[in-house]
């Protein structure tokens, strides 16, 4: 009845159960955090704006991105993935989301940042609809936990316009 096998089994089962319980509680404790992040984006310059050989509009722009995401960090946060996406509607597509810049924030100390950058990924439309287009810039973030459920949210900044002519 009290053989080595039984004891090892009981110990292992107990250890795994406790570990699973602790992981679940760590993940649940993330819900107690109510973050209040802030973000601001300025488009400083449209570097160039043209129609590519495939007939798709493409833009290159320079931006200022500043954000404070420190409140997203809890003890169960491994990293925060943050990216800035241009979002707009065209006659063909009800939603276009184009990621322009992204970054990985490894710790709370780095979560308050300011960056001056051109778009890291190509801002290309599916078609030729970008002239004079009104678009939103949205700062999205995805919180990756040390264990458990992942969180995501965003700040939408409206009222950006692309130039009416290619340049």
């Amino acid at each position: 009845m009290h053989s080595f096998g039984y004891r090892a089994n009981a110990l292992l089962t107990f250890a795994v159960t406790i570990l699973a319980l602790m992981c679940a509680m760590a993940s649940l404790s993330d819900n107690l955090n109510t973050p209040s992040p802030t973000a601001q984006v300025q488009v400083l310059n449209i570097n160039w704006f043209q129609k590519s050989t495939h007939g798709n509009d493409e833009v290159s722009m320079t931006m200022n991105i500043s954000a404070n995401l420190q409140s997203l960090f809890t003890w169960n946060t491994k990293q925060v993935f943050v990216f800035l996406a241009a979002e707009y509607e065209t006659p063909k597509n009800s939603l276009n989301q184009v990621s322009l810049w992204d970054g990985i924030i490894p710790s709370k100390e780095h979560a308050k940042f300011w960056i001056h950058t051109t778009n890291k990924y190509r801002f290309t439309d599916q078609g030729s609809n970008l002239r004079g287009k009104e678009y939103n810039l949205t700062l999205h973030w995805h919180v990756m936990p040390k264990t458990g459920k992942m969180f995501a949210d965003k700040i939408v900044m409206t009222g950006f316009h692309l130039p009416a002519e290619y340049r």
Binding site: K78, N93, S94, Q97, V98, Y121, M150
Partner: protein, 180 residues
């Protein structure tokens, strides 16, 4: 030697009734594992509710050997989500992040472009030849939860099958010889 001898004795001393009980309890273990897996498939709507990360392309977020829980709902796919997708002509599914989404006005179909956080460029090189976008049917699910290290068990078992057989054999022996 003594332990093996004892075990042999215990096997010999089993009666038919006991043998049947053992068979039933072994069956219960196997079927309950199956029920959990199929139940997860129903709840998550994904054909493989749990996947193991095999490459380092999403580091430092996901490392090799981490486990991801997938969910496949009717919700539209949006930029930033981590999706698991199959590319035609590739057997192993890939876990990467969506960076571009174009959703049709009329049909609601989506064109999606993905990229690994740790990769320099987007995934067009990984897609089938000439493929520019992923469609809905390529996507198996989106990652919603995360558990570190646990996937190493599977990685070790697939890479060293001998360990798998030893483990299964030992477990089977334990179930057969255990006395309730």
């Amino acid at each position: 030697m003594g332990w093996i001898g004892e075990t042999m004795d215990s096997i010999k001393s089993l009666q038919i009734r006991q043998v049947l009980t053992q068979a039933v309890s072994l069956g219960m273990i196997v079927t309950s594992a199956l029920i959990i897996w199929k139940g997860l498939m129903c709840i998550t709507g994904s054909e493989s509710p749990v996947v193991v990360v095999l490459s380092g392309s999403m580091e430092p977020g996901f490392k090799r050997g981490d486990i991801l829980f997938l969910h496949m709902s009717k919700d539209p796919i949006r930029a930033g989500e981590i999706v698991v997708f199959n590319v035609d002509g590739r057997e192993i599914p890939i876990v990467h992040r969506v960076i571009k989404v174009h959703e049709r006005q009329d049909s609601g179909e989506v064109d999606v472009l993905t990229k690994g956080d740790n990769n320099f460029g987007d995934d067009r090189l990984l897609y089938a030849h000439g493929q520019l976008w992923l469609q809905r049917h390529h996507i198996m699910g989106r990652a919603v939860g995360f558990l570190p290290y646990v996937g190493w068990v599977t990685i070790i078992m697939t890479e060293k099958p001998i360990i798998k057989y030893i483990l299964i054999g030992a477990l089977g022996l334990l179930v057969i010889t255990s006395k309730e």
